[in-house]
Amino acid sequence: MSTLERLTARLGAALPPEAVITDPVRLRTYECDGLTYHRATPGVVVLPETAEQVAAVVRLCAEFGVPFVARGSGTGLSGGALPRTDGVLIVTSRMRRILEIDIAGRRAVVEPGVTNLAITEAVRDQGYYYAPDPSSQQICSIGGNVAENSGGAHCLKYGFTVNHVLALQVVTPDGEIVELSEQDAGYDLLGAFIGSEGTLGIATAITVRLSRAPEAVTTLLAAFTDIESGGQAVSAVIAAGVLPAAIEMMDALAIEAAEAAVHCGYPPGAGAVLVVELDGPRAEVERQFTAVERICRDTGAFEVRVAASAEERAAIWKGRKSAFAAVGRISPAYIVQDGVVPRTALPEVLAGIDRLQDEYGIRVANVFHAGDGNLHPLVLFDDSVPGEGERAEAASGRILDLCIEHGGSITGEHGVGVDKARYMPRMFTPDDLDTMQLVRCAFDPEGLSNPGKVFPTPRLCGEVPGVRKGVHPLVEAGLAEQF
């Protein structure tokens, strides 16, 4: 019997009936996440219902030295939840309870499989919401959000997952259940865990902050003849001291795709559209709106539309939110890239992307969170044309190089996963990466939790040189504080 088979034989005792999947056909439904070109059939899949069950599975993995990977809804775009053929995939889809809602404390406690949107839906009636809003919010899990430190269109003003999570219950890679809380003294392990892409353990309960719904929301769509003037408008808005909830931009190709897919009816002839959303106290929003509208016209917007109702707002967002999927209408295949540049470098980087299109003979549709310089270039290609996939892949990589050259990042929200691990050395020195992995060594010296993700080469942890293992015997005996 293989190690995995011996482990699998013991899973039944740790889990409820039907919670262990070994049937090859069913296993295959878990072979990839949202990034479908990385695939691997998991050795075994488990569907635990409680933190104790997760811990029991992880303890078995530790005992047998078998790797494990957590999976939420599988919408990740960097292959973070790519399973191991020799390992256990721990899926949180049966951990979907909202455990507590405390409006007065402005917080909720939820299990990791709860979807992002479900939290907002549970508290909306009381005038609250959960602020981070990834476009995938209807399906992605809060556990996945924690692992990826997910953002959304509104994170320009409100921040990311890490700014809205107050505590986590975590199963560590040795199978212990620990509490990481912003209330506790000591190192900010909560902050270090969020965004660690499942490599430091599995989140089994998440305490999120609830935010008060804004009094007023105004959404505006401005159409420009070209992307440069749209970019100028963005800079001018920021320079005017306005912090919109969101500023999103789409270029002509992205607009074309959105029109084809959802008939969003954006102004014809637009070379770029800007979606600006302002929210907050009514009096503030009104003043800021006047400023933004004027800036858009001054920088050359030929049409400005303002949503007067929730329906009109939805109509404006429809084109933007459908953009990823929509390019499927104008291209047989595409790569969704995710890179970040300082806002002031946007014009140069966009021009650079333009040059790459010519160089590689492929098209790139640009959709991006313009306010924080987070680009999502959609690199279009035809997978039936030999060599085109490779060219698209190469161009996509060059876009990341452009981001790094301009002081940016290789990922703003989709994470490193397996997909971008090889780019990490372009952004960080070997010392940087080794230092980050000290954290990994502290949590997971055996490297069993989602191995092969984030870091191109694992650091061998080994024993800590020159220190006692564990605490001083006197401390253990309660006789002394350790000095």
């Binding site: 007065a104 003294a185 008060r212 990042s409 080794d434 230092t435």
Partner: protein, 467 residues
């Protein structure tokens, strides 16, 4: 104490001193002003770059020297005294703004730059680091290492939420970066979070990059006063039974006012409580900033009750840590009568606690402070961002009372899922005091420390669990 290591022979010390001098970094012999919480270092190193910090730390590793970083030195007495301290690593010469691209609302600054100097540079471009104005002399490194935040944490969060990149130097001299200079970035682990609030125990912060905010066009405060809890016994009998219900009433009123302001759609950036003596009156003050601040502050004022008012000036106590009230009639009088002419200077002899509680449990936490103060006969002051879940408590008493106060308050607070940390205490009170209280993941923290500083030489013994 790790008695095996110290005292070392003069010869070893001399060799270490020579090696430090040969490192090329400015080093001087330590003096009386350089003492860290009662522990005198031997040398003070004054590096000017991250590379020079690394040079000092490499020599320290070779010669097994314990290192304590210092910025402005305003909070060196916070945390436990170091178990040993050979080198005080002073960041005062790392004091430049490395990069400020105004259009990106991002600044990178060296660790020794003071927060005032930074604020001045940023204000010239109409921007600010939204962390309020700490005491003069505070450095960027000290701000990051202590993770202390002011009133506007309610809206902007704390250092960790505004820090987007960091350069650190580890105990073995490794220079490492994490994050970057873009606000949105999820590449790699966030070492900035780990170093925020690490009190110099994981390594030295060499520089930090922050996201900025535009300076708000206007600021308006709304404030309301709340009458003191009435004592029922004649002559102000301070027994718990007599005034606990009154304290509960006042705590409840304060809670209601704080919660109403915090939940207001006028979106205040700070909601603060000031209760200079928990047997006296209290104030709730709310800051609204940005467009239409006056109008919005007025909306908040209406929520605070008929007596509330709005003002364009910050209250005098705003953003300051609380000071202990003068000793009261009963308990503490005997102790201070002797030295009556010599009032200790503000801050001296004082104990400062940080109390954390869910915003839904503010009333209980405030009542707990009141009851604890009465029970131990120790006057206390409370100030802080209750709706953000954090207030500070200041008191001044002898060692025994201080410990009893902290223990009793902690028991009450932890029973309601809160936390109590002793940020600073006078040396004579320090011994019998559990500084940190309950910490959920202490074992993991120890493992992190062991990986980053296997020799246990960075600010040893200063932090939770003796880290």
């Amino acid at each position: 104490m790790d008695g095996a290591r110290d005292p070392r022979s003069d010869e070893t010390t001399e060799q270490a001193g020579k090696a430090l001098a040969a490192s090329g970094v400015a080093v001087r012999a330590a003096g009386a002003d350089d003492v860290v919480a009662g522990v005198p270092p031997r040398w003070v190193a004054l590096p000017e770059t991250a590379e020079e910090i690394a040079a000092v730390l490499r020599v320290s590793e070779e010669h097994d020297l314990a290192v304590v970083p210092v910025g402005g030195g305003t909070k060196l007495h916070w945390g436990a005294p170091p178990s040993r301290c050979d080198v005080l690593l002073d960041t005062c010469c790392l004091n430049e703004v490395v990069e400020h691209e105004a259009g990106d609302l991002v600044v990178r600054a060296q660790a020794g730059l003071t927060v005032e100097a930074l604020a001045e540079a940023l204000a010239a471009k109409g921007q600010e680091l939204a962390l309020d104005v700490p005491v003069p002399g505070t450095t960027i490194g000290g701000l990051v290492a202590t993770a202390i935040a002011g009133p506007r944490r309610f809206r902007y969060g704390t250092v960790r939420d505004l820090l987007i990149g960091i350069t650190v130097v580890l105990a073995d001299g490794t220079i490492a970066h994490a994050g970057g200079k873009v606000v949105k970035n999820v590449a790699g682990y966030d070492l900035g979070k780990l170093f925020t609030g690490s009190y110099g125990t994981l390594g030295v912060v060499a520089d930090a990059t922050f996201r900025l905010h535009p300076l708000p066009p206007s600021r308006t405060w709304a404030a309301a006063s709340f009458a003191r809890p009435v004592r029922s016994g004649p002559g102000g009998d301070a027994s718990e039974e007599a005034s606990a219900p009154e304290a509960v009433r006042l705590a409840g009123e304060l809670h209601a006012a704080l919660a109403a302001a915090a939940g207001s759609q006028a979106e205040p950036v700070a909601v603060e409580l000031d209760w200079p003596d928990v047997t006296g009156p209290a104030t709730v003050a709310v800051l609204v900033e940005g467009a239409a601040s006056a109008e919005r502050a007025d909306a908040v004022r209406a929520l605070l009750g008929p007596e509330a008012r709005t003002v364009g000036e910050r209250p005098g106590w705003w953003g300051r840590l609380p000071s202990a009230p003068p000793p009261s009639r009963d308990g503490a009088r005997a102790e201070t009568d002797a030295g009556r002419d010599e009032e200790p200077p503000a801050g001296r002899g004082e104990t400062l606690l940080e109390l954390r509680a869910s915003p839904s449990r503010v009333a209980g936490a405030l009542a707990a402070v009141h009851v604890t103060a009465l029970e131990t006969g120790t006057p206390a002051a409370v100030r802080g961002s209750a709706p953000a879940g954090v207030v500070h408590v200041a008191l001044r008493a002898d060692a025994g009372r201080t410990a009893r106060f902290a223990d009793a308050l902690r028991a009450r607070v932890e029973a309601a899922d809160g936390r109590l940390v002793v940020l600073s205490a006078p040396p004579e009170a320090a011994d019998g005091l559990d500084r940190w209280g309950r910490v959920g993941a202490l074992a993991l923290m120890r493992r992190v420390k062991e990986r980053f500083d296997p020799g246990g030489r960075m600010s040893p013994g200063r932090f939770v669990g003796g880290i």
